[in-house]
Symmetry: C2
């Protein structure tokens, strides 16, 4: 199927955006929209990423998650290196259409480049004025050195 | 309890950020970090918002969600107008510490300024090349005109 360029509507009124049935996403000044990704089966939050217009179009039309990598500055077909593709089961959009929620099925069971099942493997602990992180997920699903080899780590300081 | 200014660690190394137990959040060039908010009881995705450093600090120390409103350009104590406060039950952070996940209990049962329980009340429908939105949540929990009165709608075009 051809990916047409104009599957998104123009944003013309608050009521159209909030209460309408036209897809009129808002991309920020970098041309990006944030995406919340949960597992369709467990409901678990897997990751938080970004899409540009093209990545969102590709995701909708292909049925597999495509992101925009801010560190690598490219469209990124999730799974193309690791094999852990994310099949789109449902896509939702929020009230003002500036955030996407994707419910996905993960092929391979991991979504985090560090090796964990989810990117959110640490909890913020604040007790008696002391702050730190506690690991809630201790088992890596894969070894990132094996899966990604010499690829540059996308984490930036 | 006093909100100290320096509860966040400096980001010094990828390993510290990804595998460490120090909270070293990354704020973007606008000074913001995105926040995914789910209901602690149902697991439902309620909203996607942003915090600046001060909002994150206030959230951690007070135990109630504070956001940064990009449209109103102020720290926003969720519920201060509507009464629908969000009590923090758990805060998680992702691998590169540039996204927060908050599990909350909502007092009053609504998180969306349009009146729905969740901000994500519409699903993207793509069938035979046609695209549109389908309402998955049809019942408003409250009437925003009653709750917010003449306040400016935060949705921007």
């Amino acid at each position: 199927m051809m990916v047409t360029e104009n599957i998104f509507s123009k944003r013309t009124a608050v009521e159209q955006v909030e209460e309408g049935i036209e897809l009129a996403p808002k991309f920020n000044s970098y041309g990006l929209i944030p995406v919340v990704v949960t597992d369709i089966n467990t409901g678990e939050l897997l990751m938080h990423g970004y899409m540009n217009e093209q990545a969102l179009r590709k995701t909708i039309v292909s049925g597999q998650m495509h992101y925009y990598s801010r560190s690598r500055e490219v469209i990124w077909h999730k799974g193309s290196t690791s094999g852990f593709f994310q099949n789109v089961k449902e896509l939702h959009i929020d009230d003002d259409q500036d955030a996407i929620w994707a419910k996905v099925e993960v092929l391979g069971g991991a979504s985090c480049h560090v090796g964990y099942r989810t990117c959110f493997y640490r909890k913020i602990d604040y007790t008696d004025g002391n702050i730190g992180l506690i690991f809630t997920d201790k088992e890596k699903v894969f070894d990132p050195r094996v899966v990604y080899g010499d690829e540059t780590n996308p984490t930036k300081l």
